[in-house]
């Protein structure tokens, strides 16, 4: 820019001050900056750039995250930055400052807009350029990132990271050829100068991977071999893996095989290394192998098992491959060794094969036989005597086996008997109580299960794993306070446990506590916990920001690329999906019945609430005192308190559907693989009366699995609702062309044949009942269908029965108690089917009978 506009010009004295202001900012003397800015502004109150720098200095002087005392100042700085832009809209400084402030509050969209405006004012400004490059990567604006990085490279060609940044921008923009060309330029310009060996290696491996992606295996292999020869890259790990893959793709099978042998020498516990080796011979661990291939695979694995006797991988993988008698004769010693060594995870390890029903049965018979033999003669082979612990672990295994949900006839009481025998022998082994807890949980008795887990915990109070497990079981039993008391034993003293564990991003706690509150009917706190899961994911997302520059400097380009890919699908993580599902369901309930947002507290609950509030208040006061003591006695400097600690505000939302949509939107892009994304979306759109969007969800779900249980009942729901008259004719027409391809014919027959196709699947049975309810809400036929859930030829599914009870409660409430009675009769151990009030009474009784035991255990820690 050649001439400075008039409104920006400063008299000599102020001009000098302005320069000083910038100099002081760079050495972080923010107070001096503000003082200088004030002096200038006194004379020239409309000088935008000065005002902007004052805003920036003020903002930089504040603590992050903001405190009670600093928040008003932060808001002042934000407002000042906006005013500065208004006063000087053509200055790169005012825009840049606005962008920096937005970036600091993680408003990436506004930041990138502001930086773009700053760049428009001064395209050669390096700090602006640096900021905008990161933002473009962060917001995935790759073409813009390429342009900015290119510009930066022209200005800073001597810096390595300018080249690497442009290279990876091209790569992520989908232009590998350009990326490789940049690399060639980089090699001729700045190669090697002052690079550490590991940096060198990172760049080299990244380029090799680029070649592979571009299908340039010959070139990639050449580069890699040269790097090995030059000692730039170590053949340990990933590099040799890349080599093996390229060799195989080039048809050099023997050499590829040799590479996998090298990898196995380095790590004989990696399943991937064995699978890679097998691939070079056209083999795999697939269950669909033909007999000759299967024999070959088994033989190869057996060979490796001999070469690497300390590695479990080649043995474990044989379990996957072998069938029939060969499986039996291999599994027996495998299991016996595990029992002899007292490996608690043997069950988890072996149950991996249970998806194959025949194998599950075979393992069951083997273990039954081992138990019997040991009970009779304490020996498994001739002339050997087994130590009694072998039988103990055999009981342990058998108990978990017999009660496993995949077992055709789970026998919970037999499992518990076996564990009692084992406990008589060794009453101090926490694993036995843990197994007891698992069996009880599976039998539908989360409360007794929690007491069993508590016993396991009490045997080793220093073990956080047992502590976590016990807490989780208390959550499942609806005893939230007890769970929190346990978690507090391993949290920061003085801080409220939920706050502390949330700060530590303890996803399982947030989710379990959310679920527990949901089950006990406290929807406000349930929403609160689910929201903290979502906030944590936002943090995970934001965490990548610093690495856009950091990784260019450290040259960890491949890892950076995986970071970008990972963050792009971050919210497909089960913890997000599960919390999303539950939170959306709550919002749907609120939308259907706004009276849910008004609280109906029993007097006990009210007292409880008051007690909890008092406790929280005390804890906060304590924390405040502690904070005040450490921060130079500045009393007002406290973290900003949560303005909705009970979740009431969340619950009392006026816009439940919009709130739900906000949670759902990030999931939409994972819809290709996840049917539940569409079935969740349907529930939102249908309530928003967005007919076509709802229909699209059904269509997408149908294309993934037309038989999906949730989809099935939704089709009936849609059919039913779309007959309403207030649909615009155009939309009605679209519906009537599309819908018949999803659901057609006589609706009752359609449902009947659906039920026939899935007569033994609990989820499908429930769905058929719900579908029927849409067209013919008479209780008898619905109950007839639901009775299948508790018939002897259908495997018990506790979660589905609970949902069936919930469904009856809302759909045909007058039959729910009768159905509940039948569920209780059919599964007497499943206390979870009893009514909430019954469960509360039982919990109180159990607490009384267990009595003072836990007081003592608390004192021990």
């Amino acid at each position: 820019m050649s001439t400075v506009p008039k409104h920006r010009q400063l008299p000599d004295k102020e001009s000098k001050l302005f320069k000083e202001l910038i100099a002081q900012y760079e050495v972080k003397q923010y107070k001096k900056c503000i003082k200088a800015a004030d002096t200038i502004l006194k004379k020239l109150p409309n000088h935008g750039e000065t005002l902007a720098l004052k805003a920036l200095s003020l903002h930089s002087s504040l603590p992050m995250p903001p405190t009670v005392a600093s928040l008003p100042k932060q808001e002042e700085a934000e407002a000042m930055a906006r005013t500065a832009v208004k006063k000087d809209i053509t200055s790169h400084i005012t825009w840049h400052v606005l962008g920096i402030l937005a970036k600091n509050r993680k408003d990436w969209e506004e930041a990138s807009r502001a930086f773009a405006m700053a760049r428009k004012q001064d395209s050669e400004n390096v700090p602006v350029l640096r900021d905008i490059m990161s933002l473009y990567m962060h917001t995935r604006q790759y073409p813009a990132a390429v342009a900015a990085r290119h510009h930066y490279l022209l200005m800073r060609p001597q810096i390595r990271s300018s080249w690497l940044g442009l290279m990876i921008a091209h790569d992520l923009n989908g232009d590998i050829e350009e990326a490789l060309q940049v690399y060639d330029g980089y090699v001729s310009m700045v190669y090697k100068e002052g690079m550490s060996p590991s940096e060198h290696s990172q760049v080299c491996l990244y380029v090799v991977r680029l070649c592979m992606e571009a299908g340039l295996d010959v070139q990639g292999l050449d580069r890699l071999e040269k790097a090995f020869r030059d000692g730039v890259v170590s053949p340990r790990g990933e590099a040799t893996k890349l080599k093996a893959e390229m060799l195989l793709r080039l048809g050099k099978k023997e050499e590829a095989e040799e590479s996998w042998r090298v990898l196995l020498e380095q790590n004989s516990d990696s399943h991937d290394n064995y699978k890679g080796f097998l691939r070079t011979r056209g083999l795999s661990i697939s269950p669909t192998l033909d007999d000759t291939s299967r024999e070959k695979v088994a033989e190869i694995l057996a060979g490796f098992a001999q070469s690497y006797p300390r590695s479990s991988a080649p043995k474990r993988m044989q379990l996957d491959v072998l069938q029939g008698d060969a499986f039996r004769s291999f599994a027996r010693p495998y299991i016996i060794t595990g029992l002899e060594r007292g490996i608690p995870s043997l069950f988890v390890d072996v149950k991996g094969v249970y998806e194959d029903v025949a194998k599950m049965q075979a393992v069951g018979e083997l273990v039954a036989d081992i138990v019997q033999q040991l009970e009779k003669e304490s020996s498994l082979e001739e002339d050997t005597t087994e130590p009694p612990t072998t039988l103990l672990w055999a009981y342990y295994y058998f108990a978990l086996h017999l009660s496993h949900p995949l077992h055709p006839e789970p026998n919970h009481s037999r499992s518990l008997e076996l564990l009692e025998i084992a406990l008589k022998h060794t009453p101090t082994l926490p694993e036995l109580y843990m197994a007891k807890a698992i069996v009880l949980k599976r039998s539908g008795d989360p409360l007794t299960a929690a007491y069993a887990m508590e016993e396991a915990r009490s045997l080793d109070l220093q073990d956080r794993f047992l502590n976590s497990k016990a807490a989780k079981y208390w959550y499942r039993a609806g005893q939230i306070q007890k769970a929190e008391e346990l978690l507090a034993l391993f949290s920061k003293k003085g801080a409220p446990v939920v706050t502390d564990q949330t700060d530590l991003q303890c996803l399982w706690m947030m989710q379990e506590e959310g679920d527990a509150y949901r089950r006990t009917g406290n929807l406000a706190l349930a929403l609160k916990r689910y929201q903290s899961v979502f906030t944590t994911f936002t943090d995970y997302d934001d965490d990548q920001f610093d690495f856009h520059t950091y990784c260019m400097r450290r040259m960890t380009l491949s890892s950076y690329k995986s970071l970008i890919k990972y963050e792009d699908q971050l919210r497909s993580h089960p913890a997000y999906i599960k919390s999303a599902r539950e939170a959306i369901e709550i919002y749907m309930r609120i939308s259907d019945d706004p009276s849910l947002t008004e609280e109906h507290l029993t007097p006990e609950e009210e007292a409880e609430r008051k007690k909890a509030a008092k406790k929280a208040q005390k804890a906060e006061q304590k924390a405040r005192k502690a904070a005040a003591a450490t921060s130079d006695g500045k009393k007002e400097d406290q973290p900003i308190p949560d303005d909705d600690p009970t979740g009431e505000k969340l619950l009392k939302t006026e816009t439940p559907l919009e709130d739900a949509l906000k949670i759902w939107k990030p999931l939409e892009k994972f819809g290709n693989e996840r049917i539940e994304v569409w079935t969740m979306g349907y529930e939102i759109y249908i309530r928003k009366k967005m007919w076509l969007a709802a229909l699209r969800c059904l269509k997408e779900a149908y294309s993934i699995d037309p038989e999906d249980p949730t989809l099935h009942k939704q089709l009936y729901n849609f059919k039913h609702l779309s007959q309403s008259t207030d649909i615009p004719p155009m939309i009605k027409e679209t519906i009537s062309t599309v819908l018949p391809s999803l659901i057609s014919g006589d609706l009752e027959d359609f449902n009947k044949s659906y039920l026939d196709r899935h007569s033994n699947s609990p989820t499908h049975i429930l769905s058929a009942a719900q579908a029927l309810h849409e067209i013919q809400p008479t209780s008898e036929e619905i109950i007839t269908i639901l009775n299948r859930l508790i018939s002897p030829d259908v495997r018990i599914n506790i979660q589905v029965i609970l949902r069936a009870l919930e469904f009856l409660q809302s759909a045909v409430p007058d039959v729910v108690e009768e159905y509940r009675g039948r569920c209780r009769e059919r599964f007497p151990s499943a206390w979870i089917f009893s009514s909430l009030s019954e469960q509360v009474v039982r919990a109180e009784q159990m607490a009384l009978s267990v009595g003072s035991g836990e007081e003592q255990s608390k004192a021990d820690v």
């Binding site: 060996p197 590991s198 990172q202 170590s234 053949p235 340990r236 790990g237 990933e238 380095q266 790590n267 516990d269 990696s270 399943h271 991937d272 300390r310 479990s312 474990r316 060594r341 007292g342 490996i343 608690p344 995870s345 988890v348 390890d349 149950k351 991996g352 694993e431 843990m434 073990d463 956080r464 794993f465 047992l466 976590s468 497990k469 391993f490 920061k492 003293k493 564990q501 700060d503 530590l504 991003q505 303890c506 996803l507 399982w508 943090d539 995970y540 965490d543 990548q544 690495f547 950091y550 990784c551 450290r554 960890t556 491949s558 890892s559 950076y560 995986s562 970071l563 990972y566 993580h573």
Partner: protein, 155 residues
């Protein structure tokens, strides 16, 4: 259990295992920092369902100028997965990687003074020795032992 190098996709699983099992916890960004600086040094043990049941989170000591030293930030195996030698295997993998990729001459770690089981694992099984004691190292003010193991090829 499958043992392999940790990737970015494993970090949340590692964080979960850490929170379930150990009193010293870190936010996600700290795991990212490890994986995006020394991608070769961290390893995970994975069960047949793909769940992470053990891990080692490791780095290079950036303060040390005269020696190349690796450091274990955290190592943990979930209780039910004990007796499989997983900690040992994870540690070996990380150590070998430190030598191969960074030419490290030794490895250090901190352990709670009261954690006798861990101290015995490091000393008796893995060959570490105590070389220092740091007073009040942990958040709850407990002392830490600094332990180290000098790689045989380095001496």
């Amino acid at each position: 259990m499958d043992i392999r190098q940790a990737t970015i996709d494993d970090l949340l699983g590692m964080q979960n295992a850490n929170l379930l099992n150990l009193p010293e916890n870190y936010t996600f960004k700290y795991y990212l920092y490890h994986a995006l600086t020394w991608p070769e040094l961290s390893f995970v043990a994975v069960d047949p369902r793909g769940r992470i049941v053990g891990y080692i989170l490791a780095k290079m000591d950036e303060d040390s100028t005269d020696e190349v030293i690796g450091h274990v930030t955290s190592i943990s195996v979930l209780r039910p997965y004990r007796r499989l030698g997983l900690a040992n295997k994870l540690m070996k993998q990380s150590q070998e990687a430190m030598v191969a990729h960074y030419k490290a001459s030794k490895i250090t770690l901190h352990v709670r003074k009261s954690n006798r089981a861990a101290i015995s694992l490091y000393r008796d099984t893995l060959g570490f020795e105590v070389f220092t004691m740091e007073k009040g190292y942990y958040a709850d003010n407990e002392d830490a032992y600094g332990m180290r193991y000098i790689f045989p090829q380095a001496s």
